[in-house]
Amino acid sequence: MTALDNYVAPTSLEEAVEQLLELGEVTILAGGTDLMPQANAGRVKFKRTLMNIRRIPELRGIAREGDEIRIGALATISEIMAHPLVREHLPLLVSAGDHFASNQIRNAGTLGGNVCNASPAGDTLVPLMVLGASVELASMLDDKLYRRTMHLPEFFVGPGKTRLATAELLAAVRIPVPPQGFVARFHKFGTRPALDISAISIGVGGVLKNGMFTDVRVAFGAVAPTPVCGCATEEALEGKKLDAATIAAAAVAARDEVHPISDVRASDWYRKEMIHNMTKRILEDVSTSH
């Protein structure tokens, strides 16, 4: 058992990834809102070094880069919700943020942290998948700062597990600016507005033009070890007119394609029922949105 015996707080991305390579066993600290309780409960063991990445300016900020909006890994949920670019182009993230934990946690919790924590119920993950987001991963390659991007669905491996390499840091999330006519909805099932771990969540997005729904993306949270794409549901919707028959078929497809578990929050049966009913509700809402 290695004990936590080293603390570093790099001030540039380059320094951070260099140290990652050098030090090997590193626990990354961003907002701390997941790390602290998980460490206290023994669900996460600290590695030898704790790296506080909050002093790295390159990880901050929200900006438009070409056809994408780049949200730095350290952007807090509150910052994202208040940012004009997000409010203009990605209202889905604003509405999802409104269901995220509490004001205090929104003020501390970061987007990068929520993504890397890879909880199947992570509140930003389903909306990010619906928006077609990618992650920007930084590392040292041949003594140079190297960045690669990866689509979000590929990034998740299991609860708390991602394809982030040992010496790699999530630098940002990149989201394509949605096209004209793009509509999206996120539903987090719960009895409270926020401060709730979702029993299920659903995101639906696509382009609605002349009554036809195209470029459809569907994602579900808390029904599998990772947030998942609703491929069968997408298929049931793609290129269709959002009428009652399409919506009913899509809701059934959604229910049939998820395989949730039973836990303290809900049974598998109830989760499937809610996926069905809420998919239907969201689609009805989308169909009347213009």
Partner: protein
């Protein structure tokens, strides 16, 4: 466990302490600097009893690493004694009967300050949402909401 020396401003006073790197800011505030107004209620960010302001933004000190306070401004409930808005909130809490056992109160007051700073005239519903991360088992929240509303609508006695 490695110790880390950090410098920060605690309620306006320059402070230097040495803390274990895995220590929470809550533990540091209570056990290292000896300010016990910030309360431990759950240790996982669910109850808000430990709410503080970091550079003027409210968060749960139980989820914050003490080392992260380095170079920053930490304000606890004790620090609101020299903050005009904080004092108004405290007075409104007393007037409205918003304090029963008093355990959730410091966190509520700090969060109320955040809320009123972000939105000086919140609606009742916005107040309820603003304190959704603060649990209270005694009051049923009504008098707490009343207290914050009194300031929001300028009806403090």
């Amino acid at each position: 466990m490695s110790q880390q020396a950090i410098n920060f401003t605690l309620n306006g006073v320059p402070t230097r302490v040495s803390v274990p790197v895995d220590m929470s800011a809550l533990e540091m505030i209570r056990n290292v600097t000896g300010l016990t107004g910030t309360k431990y209620g759950c240790g996982e960010g669910e109850c808000g009893a430990c709410t503080i302001l970091l550079d003027g933004v409210s968060l749960n000190s139980c989820l914050l690493f003490a080392v992260e306070c380095d170079g920053r401004q930490v304000t606890t409930i004790e620090g609101l004694a020299s903050d005009p808005l904080g004092l108004r909130i405290e007075k409104a809490f007393v007037e409205a009967g918003a304090v029963q056992c008093g355990f959730c109160t410091p966190g509520m007051v700090v969060q109320a300050r955040q809320l009123l700073q972000d939105n000086p005239h919140p609606t009742r519903e916005e107040i309820q949402r603003g304190i959704e991360g603060n649990l209270c088992r005694c009051t049923g929240y009504v008098k707490i909401i009343d207290a914050i509303e009194a300031i929001a609508v300028g009806k403090e006695s």
